[in-house]
Subunit: 426 residues, 4 copies
C-alpha cells in the first residue's frame, strides 16, 4: 500500500484557496509582530517524529483489547503504514523498531522499502519486560536489575543483539525502557537493584558503536506497583552520567507522578546536555498513552517552549530524538497518529512564536503578568495555516486526516490484509 | 477612582483598525462554517462574572504575604476597584461580599456607589473558618458541624446575619464554604459531623428569603488535612437535596482531588438541576487559586463545553452564579483579575463555537476521532477578536490590560490610597 | 484436592504452646483494659470474606503476564482452591463467580462440591467490559451506557442471565462493575451516558429476585482514561437511589483518586443505609490490586474503624458483602490471598479494640491528642494471637501460610493440574 | 520552667510493674527469634531528634491561625519547652534554630541554658522566603535564584550570617530550604534560575567552616504553585554535587508529589553518600505537616527500614541529622511533638527488628511472599515496651504524654507566660 502523491495533490487543490487566505492573514499579522514566518514554516517542515512499530495496531488494557481491522501483520506492512502517515503529514519520516517484535528477515529489502517511503530507522528498542519463546530465563523478577547474574547476562545480551540489528538498518541509538522494580515492599533491595542496573547498563554501553547513543527511560510505576528501579529523571540522569558521554535521559510524557512539572525537567536536562530523546503522548491519570495533545495541550506547549529554548541555547545538548509512544485502544491507529502529529506540530509552532526577547525582558523586570501574556499570546494564535504551509511545501496533505478518510486508506488496508490481521506488539 | 469612558475610547481608537481586520477575518470564516457570529458576540457581552471583595488586595500563603501598593482599605474602595475592572472588561458587573470583612456602614451610599459603576451585589459569603473579635466561641474545632451545640448556633446565627446584610444590598444568594473537618484520624465522628452539618444547613435554609438560593461548596482538604465534612460534590449534592429546592451545589475549580474530571461533575449536577454557582481559578497542585486559564486552559474549555450544553439543554437548572475566586500573591490583583476574565471569556467563546449537532452525530457513530476534531477545531480557533467585539459593544476596552497600564490606574490608586493600605481578607 | 483436617491439626500442635503463651498475655492485658476478648475472637471467627473466582490464577498487566504453575483450569478446581484457603484460614467461606468465565455445567454437582468445602456462593459478577465469543455486538464503546439501544439491550440481557445463574447457586446479589466511559474528551455526552446507564440499571433491577441486592461499583478511570460513567461514590449512590431499596453502592479500595478519604465515604454510605459491598485490595498508585494491607495497613484499619462503627450503629445498613478483589501478578495466588485474609482480620481485630466510649468522650472534649492516642493504642497492639485463636476455634491453621507451605499444597496442585494450566479470567 | 526528675520517677513508679511485665514478654519472644534486645534498646536510647524552634507555638494555614495558650515568647522559653520534652522523652536532645526568628542576645547564657536541659544545637536554618524588617530588597520574586544580583547577594549574606550565629552556638550544619520558584508559566527562566541558585549555594558553601555540612532541601510546590527551583531530590543531589563534599541532600517527608516512593530516594542517596538530614512529619495531601506517624505509619516504617539499612551498610554516608518539622495547628505543640517522637521511635524500633539476613535470603530466592512476611512480622510486633525501656534507662518517662498531662505542664506554662503569648515563627 502506497499513497499516490497525485491523489494528495488533488485533495489539496480543493482547499487551496481557503488555505492561502488563512495563511496570508496569519503571515501578515505575525510579520507585523516581527516574526520571520518563513523561518517558522521551515522549522515545522524539518521537524520529524519517529513512529513506533508497535503502535500501528490496536492497543489494549489489562481488561482486554478490542481489535482493529486491517492491522499490519508484518514489518513490511508496518513500514507501509508509517509511509502512508508520512506521505500525508510529512512529519513521520522515521520508524522506531521494537525487538523481538520486528526483527527483519531481509535487511536489504526492508531498507529499500523504507527508503521508498522516505522513512529512516530511528532508535531501536529492547524488550526485557516480557519472556520470549526462545529465552530460558524469566524476567518475572527483573532483568538488568535482577539479583541473579545469569538473568542479567541474558538481558544484556538481548540489548547487544538489538544494537546489532539496529546497526544493520542504520539506527544510531538504543532506547532502554527498564520495567524492573517491585510490586511489594521488601521484594527487592533498592541499593542492590540500582547497582546491578548500573553495571548492566555499563555493559550495554560498552557494546555501543562509536556514533551511537544510549537513551535511558524512567517511569515511576507500572507494570510494577510499589517501585521502579529507574523511577525518575534524577535516577536516569545519574545512571547516564555513570555510563558516559553517549548515554542520555529519555523523557516520556506519561512517565511521571501526578502534577510533575515536566518542562522544568526538560530544561534541567538540556542545560546539562543530557536530554537524549522524547516520547510523546498524553494522559489524565497515569501512563494513559492517549493521543498527543488530546488532554493537556497547554502543558505540551510549555514543554515545547522549554525544548525550543534548549535547542536554541544549549549547544551542549544533542538534537533530541522525537517519537510518539501511544496506545490506540479505540481509534484507528493511523488516524490517532495523524492527530498526534498535528498536535505536536501545533505545540512546536506556538513555541516558535514566543517572543523570547520580550519574555526575557519581562522576566528581568519581574513582570509576571507580562510573562504570562507573552506565552498566552503565542498559544492563542491559530497556527494551523502554518502547519498546512509546511506540509504543502514538503508535498504532504493540507488536511491529512480528511485526506486519509477521503482516500479510503483503511478500507484499502482491510481489503489487502483482511479484517483479522493482528499486529505484533502489546 | 473612576475610569473616564472617554479615556477608554481613545485607547480603543488606536487599535480599532487592527481589531476590525481580525474580526472581519474570523467572522467570515465562522459564518462560512454556519456559526451565527452576532449571537456568539451577544452571549459574550451578556456574560458577567462576580468579583469577590476579598481578592482585591494581595493574598498570601502560610509562609507569608508580600503586600501590594494601593490596596483598597475600605468597602468603598473595593467597589471602586471592581468598577475599574468592569469599565475596562465589561465582564465584571457584580461584586460578591464576604462578611464580616465587608459589612457596609451606610447601605444606601454603598448601593449608590455600586450602581454608579453598574455593579450589582452577587452572592454573599459567610465566614466560620476564623474566629472574629466579637465572637465568644471558637471555630477551632468546627462551626456548623461542631459537636458543641452552642458553637453551631453561633455559626448558624452568623449565616443568618449575612443573609440580612445581603438582603439589604439586593443579593439573592448565600454561599457557604464550610471549612470544617479534621486534621487527624479519629478527631471527629464522620457521621455525627455530617448530621450536625445537615441540621445547621437546614436551619440556615429556613431563614432564606423566598427568592434566595443557598450555595453549598465542597472541598476535599485544607485548612483541614485529614478530612473535610463536605468533601466532594456527592456530599454537597446530598445536603442540598436534604435542604430543599433552593439549595444547590457550588463548584470551585480548585476544590478537587488530583485528576478529577470536573466537567463530568458539572454535567451531572446540571442534569439534576443542582448546579448553583461556580468559582473560577486555576491550579497545578491543590487549591492554588491561580489566575484562571493560566495552567490548564483546555480543561477550562471542556468545563465550559459542559456548561454551555447544560445552559442550552437543562431548563431544570437555574442560570449559575459565576465568580472568580483566586488569590493574587505576586501580581497586581486588578491585572490578575483582568487576565482571569479574558481567559473565562475565551473558554466560553470557544465552547460556543463547538458544533453541537456534528458532535452529537459523531457520538452516535462512535467516531471518536471526529469528536476530538470537533472540540479541537473550536479550541484552536483564535477567538480574541470576538471578545474584543463584545467589549467594544458594551463600551469596554479592546485591550483591557494594556489600557489599564496605559491609563496608569495602579499609580493613581497608590497616589490616592498610599503604598501601605491593606485590604481586609485573607 | 482437599486438605486433610488432621494435617492442619498436626501442624497446629507444633506451635500451640507458643500460641497459648501469647494469647494469654494479650488476653490478660486486653481484659484489664475492659475488652471482652471472647467477644472479639468470636467476631473474628464469624467474619467471612468471599474469594473471586478470577483471582486464583496469575494476573497480569497490559505489558504481559507471567504464568503460575498449577492454576485451576475449571470451576471445580477453582472451588477446590477456595476450599483449601478456607480450610487453612477459616475466613474464606464463600466464592464470588464471574460470568461468563465460570458458568457451571452441572449445578447440583457444583453446589455439592462447594458445600463439601463449606463454601457458599456470594455475589455474582457480570462482564460487559469485554466482547465474548457468542455475542454479536461489541462493547468497545460502552455497554449499559451505550448510545446504541441494541448494545444496551444485549448488556442488560447478559446481566439478567447472570442473575439466573446466581439464583441457581444460591447467590443473593449481583455486582455490576461498569467499565463504560470515554478515553477522549467529547467522545460521549456525559448526560446521555448517565441517563442510559440509569435506565439500564433500572431494567436489571427489575429482574432482581425479591431477596436479592444490586451492588453498583464505581471507579474514576481505567480501562477508560478520560472519564468513567460511574466515576465516584456520589454517582453510584445517586443511581442506587434511582433504582430502589435493594440497590447499593459497592466500594472497591482501589477505585479512588489519589488521597481520597475512603473511611469518610464508608461512613456516609452506612449512615444512609447504602453500603452494600466491599472489595479489598491495596495500592500505591492506582487500581494496583495488590495484596490487602501490603502498602497502607493503617488506612485499612481506619476504614475498618468506620465499618465497625457502622455495623454497630447503623441498623439501616445491611450487613455488607465482603470480597477480596486483587490481581496476583508475581505471587502464588493462594499465598497472596492468605496474606490478604490475615491483613483483613488484623485490621478488623484492631478496629474492634478501639475504645469507642473513650473516643466519643475525647471527641466531645475536642481532645484531638487523646483521639489519636486511642486509635493508635488499638493499632499498635499485636493482635495476631487473637486471629490465631479465632482460626483454631473454627478448625483452621494457627499459621495458614506456613502450613500451606509445609503441606506442599502448590506442589500437589502442579502435580494434579500440570505446570501449564491456565485459569479463565483476566 | 523545668521538670523535676523526681516527679517523672514518681509517675514511672506507678506503671513500672506493668512495664516490666510487657517488657519481659516481648524481650523473651524477640530473644527466642535471635534479636539482641539490649542492643535494640540501646539504639533507641541513643536516637535523638532535633526540635525546630519555630514549632513550639501554634501554626496556621493561609485561612488563619488559632492561637494556643502559654506559647514561648522568647528563645529562652523555647529552649525550656524543648527541655521539657526531652526530660520526658529523652529523645529530643537538640534544638534547631531559625534565623532571624531566634537570634540569641546573650550567647553564653543561651548555651548554658541549653546545657542545663542537656540540649545541643543542631542545624541552623536560614529564611529567605519572607522579607524581614531590616532588609531593603524583597524576596517576592526569589532570593538565591533571583535574576537580580543584589537580591541574591543579600540572600547569600543572610545565609553567611546564619552560619556565624550557628557557629557561636556549636551548630555544625546549615539547612537551606529555598522556597524560590514561580507561580506562573513563563515567570522565570528555569535554566537561569537553576544556574543562579547553584552559584549562590556555592558562595554559601565557600563560607562554611571546615567541619560543617550544608543541607539542601527540595520541595515540588508551595509557596510557589507552578514550579520550585529545587523541585526534587535529583535537583538537590545535582546541586550538592556541584557544591562539594560537605553538601548534602535533606529529605522532608512532606516535600513530595503524590505517591512518591520516599524509601527508594533515601536508599539511593545513602548509597551515594549524600543523605545529610531528615525532616519528619506526616501528610495525606501535600505538605500537611501533621504529627509524625498519624497518617501513614507503615510508610514511615519502610523509610526507617531503608535508613537502618543505610546506617549499617553505607559508611560513605554520614550519620544523618534528624529533625521534626511539623505545624501544630490544633494540638498543644508539646503534646504533638511527644506523639511525633513516639511514632519515630516506634518506626525505628520496628525497622531494627527486621531480620535482614532472612530478608536478603528471601530476596535472593525471589520469595516475594516471604519478603513481605518478614517486614510485616516486624511491623506487627508491639514495640512499646522497648521504647519505654529506652526512656527509663535514660531517666525519661515511661509514658511521656500521660506524665506531661499529669504534671500539668501546660497549666504551668500558661501561668508563667500568660494566655496570649505568641511564639515567633510562621
Amino acid at each position: 500500500m502506497k499513497i499516490d502523491k497525485q491523489h494528495i495533490e488533488e485533495r489539496n487543490q480543493q482547499s487551496l484557496d481557503d488555505h492561502l487566505e488563512s495563511f496570508d492573514y496569519i503571515a501578515n499579522r505575525l510579520t507585523k509582530n516581527g516574526i520571520e514566518v518563513e523561518n517558522v514554516v521551515q522549522k515545522l517542515a524539518d521537524f520529524q517524529v519517529a513512529i513506533p512499530s508497535w503502535a500501528l495496531g490496536a492497543g489494549g488494557t489489562r481488561f482486554g483489547r478490542f481489535g482493529f481491522q486491517g492491522e499490519p501483520g508484518t514489518l513490511e506492512q508496518k513500514i507501509d503504514d508509517v509511509g502512508a502517515i508520512h506521505a500525508l503529514t510529512q512529519t513521520a519520516g522515521a520508524i522506531s523498531l521494537h525487538i523481538p517484535w520486528d526483527v527483519p528477515k531481509d535487511y536489504t529489502a526492508i531498507k529499500e522499502l523504507a527508503q521508498s517511503h522516505q522513512i529512516s530507522f530511528d532508535a531501536v528498542n529492547s524488550n526485557t519486560f516480557q519472556d520470549q519463546k526462545n529465552t530460558t530465563k524469566s524476567y518475572k523478577f527483573g532483568s538488568l536489575s535482577n539479583i541473579d547474574e545469569a538473568i542479567r547476562e541474558q538481558a544484556v545480551e538481548h540489548n547487544n543483539e538489538v544494537i546489532k540489528i539496529g546497526n544493520k538498518l542504520g539506527s544510531k541509538s538504543l532506547t532502554v525502557w527498564l520495567a524492573d522494580g517491585a510490586s511489594f515492599p521488601g521484594q527487592t533491595n533498592f541499593q542492590s537493584a540500582l547497582k546491578q542496573t548500573q553495571k548492566s547498563l555499563q555493559e550495554i554501553y560498552a557494546s555501543l558503536p562509536e556514533d551511537w547513543k544510549l537513551f535511558i527511560e524512567y517511569k515511576p510505576y507500572e507494570p510494577n506497583f510499589y517501585s521502579t528501579v529507574i523511577q525518575d529523571w534524577g535516577t536516569s540522569f545519574m545512571l547516564a552520567n555513570e555510563c558516559g558521554e553517549k548515554a542520555y535521559t529519555l523523557v516520556d510524557l506519561g512517565h511521571h507522578l501526578p502534577n510533575t512539572n515536566i518542562e522544568q525537567i526538560v530544561s534541567t536536562l538540556m542545560m546539562k546536555g543530557k536530554l537524549g530523546g522524547f516520547h510523546f503522548n498524553d494522559s489524565k491519570y497515569g501512563d494513559d498513552d492517549l493521543t498527543v495533545g488530546s488532554v493537556k495541550p497547554y502543558a505540551l506547549f510549555l514543554i515545547f517552549n522549554a525544548l525550543v529554548y534548549g535547542m536554541e541555547n544549549n549547544p551542549q545538548n544533542p538534537y533530541p530524538a522525537w517519537m510518539i509512544d501511544a496506545s490506540h485502544n479505540i481509534k484507528d491507529p493511523l488516524e490517532d497518529i495523524i492527530q498526534s502529529l498535528e498536535a505536536i506540530q501545533e505545540a512546536y509552532a506556538k513555541a516558535l512564536l514566543v517572543d523570547q526577547k520580550a519574555l526575557n525582558e519581562a522576566q528581568q523586570n519581574h513582570d509576571v503578568v507580562k510573562c504570562q501574556e507573552i506565552l498566552q499570546d503565542a498559544h492563542r494564535t491559530d497556527v494551523r495555516p502554518l502547519l498546512q504551509k509546511a506540509r504543502l511545501q514538503n508535498g504532504g496533505a493540507l488536511h491529512p486526516l480528511k485526506t486519509y478518510r477521503s482516500l479510503g486508506i483503511r478500507k484499502q488496508l482491510v481489503a489487502e490484509r483482511g479484517a483479522n490481521s493482528v499486529a505484533t506488539g502489546l
